[in-house]
Symmetry: C2
Subunit: 355 residues, 2 copies
């Protein structure tokens, strides 16, 4: 399981106690106060099984997304929903747009699916460096597959493909009987995301993955959900799903935090300002190449040393970054870092300047 | 999912608010205070992914059971562990000792396993009525299967098969290359359970299922575990397991409550005394037949009406019981009720006397 970032426990067990964890992309505002209060006042929820149908939870998620709760599947983190979708769809051949999050590959291998990898092109557009999706090229490859998997915004590159482009792509895919799976777990960090989510297309061909992990700083609570207009997939998922996988507090959290306008406002404000500032500061560091980001992390290419070495040296300063060498199509010079609050980001900046 | 008990949400949605839930078998002492404090003081745990290897949690469970943490698999409730074991073992033919909990069947159907059902014999031994296991008969049937599934104590009958009997059975099964899966989720309600658990046999042929759901009154937290001395099964499960399925508070709970001697002492004291008293009182009700129980629930046969009618009439008095008509080999006259505290049990007794 060391394919993942966030392996801070390993470092802690090895005796390093005070680590600034830049490998994990979590909202630095922390757990919403509304949820903290909610949990403290509802400990006795643990004495019951959660509602096996999660009716109220799905209604709350539906309201947040301006859609019906019938289009929502909840799960134990985005991970469970991802695995369930793959088990329900059972594609024989799937194409993963890469480099990207490793868990899609695991979920597809789990159902013995043959996997292809579509390479994002690294280049510079409008003076911004990133990995761009060549849609025309993708269409040509896509016809050999039954499912296309896209992470948007993409982890670890931070790149984002616009709705208009994906709408056209989806029309092509639907015509050719190819499904589109889009992981939008980092979407809420994109300005104006409510207009940019693919759920506004209401296409039966698309399955959207979301989580409360990143935006609401709750990786520990394990609550993810899927959105789809394909009733058959929902029925199939419900038939294979294990009961009660979302625990009582995860259930509660979804009913509370999605309505927490104050937290949402503060978060939007933080990411909007700090992202620009932090990226500009990072660009001033001469030995790194900074990639454009639409979300709450930044991909960096280290020009004069390997990612492993960079990670090691920063760890000596008690900062943990994500070495991206094991991402497909990324060389051993890439690391991914979180965007945190100004104070921590300044510590990070100072540390890499003195490396 | 209405095959399960605990469908109190359905009744609540239908407008009945104050229901005494005798369909759910939860320790009436409620959430341990130690955990309540632990959660309130550790809300920020939610800001991190849990340790994907759950090292400390498994160590705590190991200590509680006097075994090595290497023999432990943790999961999102007993359900996940059950499903994982079946997916890892992939038996072609399995025999479920019945009537019993419906989830084994679901987990086996999920892997397209052919299922047989071994019927427990209803009779009276030592003046006590229950469903008894005829081991010699079981051995004869068992040889046609690769896996035997036993719930012990058994849900919903409350019966319990002694370790000596199962030790001998397991030797026979092992010789014939047949695995034994034993669900001990209700074991801690059996007096002297530490001597009676099959984990003391340290047999590679056995997989034991446990949960914190019942004894520690935490169905909402979703924490279960498996115990096995078969390293290959552990490796296989780890290879197919989704990451982080145990959430931060479930992880925390396992580290706190298993050490809570006060709660454990109180619980043992309650069940020991109240079980005897409640069962004796139930026996005085002339229109029900009471089955011997080793755990925290009681199976009842309603002599003069169907379970459905009995359930309906009690619901009018705001008490919910588990109609057991859909358990294999049980007629439509059976209900299962929880053992709660003296006060609630007296309300229950009064209600059924006046039915």
């Amino acid at each position: 399981m060391d394919i993942h970032g966030g392996n801070i426990y390993k470092f802690q067990r090895e005796g390093k106690r005070e680590i600034l964890d830049y490998s994990s992309n979590i909202n630095p505002l922390g757990v919403p106060k509304s949820l903290e209060e909610g949990i403290k006042n509802n400990i006795s929820l643990l004495e019951r099984y959660p509602d096996v149908h999660y009716v109220e939870l799905r209604e709350s998620i539906g309201e947040y997304n301006h859609i019906s709760s019938d289009n929502i599947i909840v799960g134990n983190g985005a991970t469970e929903v991802l695995f369930l979708y793959m088990k329900a769809l059972l594609p024989k051949r799937a194409l993963i747009i890469s480099p990207t999050f490793a868990e899609y590959e695991r979920a597809l291998k789990n159902i013995d699916c043959e996997i292809g990898y579509f390479k994002l092109d690294e280049n510079i557009q409008n003076e911004k460096r990133n990995f761009y999706l060549d849609v025309e090229k993708l269409k040509k490859e896509a016809i050999n597959y039954q499912l296309i998997v896209l992470c948007n915004p993409n982890n670890p590159t931070g790149s984002f493909v616009k709705k208009e482009i994906l709408e056209e792509l989806n029309e092509f895919l639907e015509t050719n009987n190819i499904k589109l799976f889009v992981d939008e777990c980092f979407l809420e960090f994109v300005e104006g995301w409510e207009e940019k989510t693919l759920n506004t297309l209401k296409s039966k061909n698309i399955f959207i993955l979301r989580a409360l992990t990143k935006y609401f700083a709750l990786p520990g609570i394990r609550l993810g959900y899927g959105i789809t207009y394909d009733n058959k997939i929902i029925e199939k998922i419900n038939s294979i799903k294990e009961p009660w996988t979302v625990n009582a507090f995860a259930d509660l959290s979804g009913k509370i935090i999605l309505k927490d306008k104050e937290y949402i406002g503060k978060t939007d404000n933080w990411i909007k300002n700090e992202r620009v500032r932090f990226v500009e500061e990072l660009k001033k560091v001469d030995y790194i190449e900074v990639y454009e980001t639409y979300t709450n992390f930044v991909l960096l290419k280290i020009k004069n040393m390997k990612a492993e070495e960079f990670q090691k040296r920063l760890l000596e300063k008690n900062i943990l970054v994500r070495n991206c060498s094991n991402f497909k199509f990324l060389s051993n010079n890439f690391v991914r870092i979180a965007i945190k609050d100004t104070e921590k980001n300044n510590i990070f900046l100072k540390s890499i300047k003195n490396l």
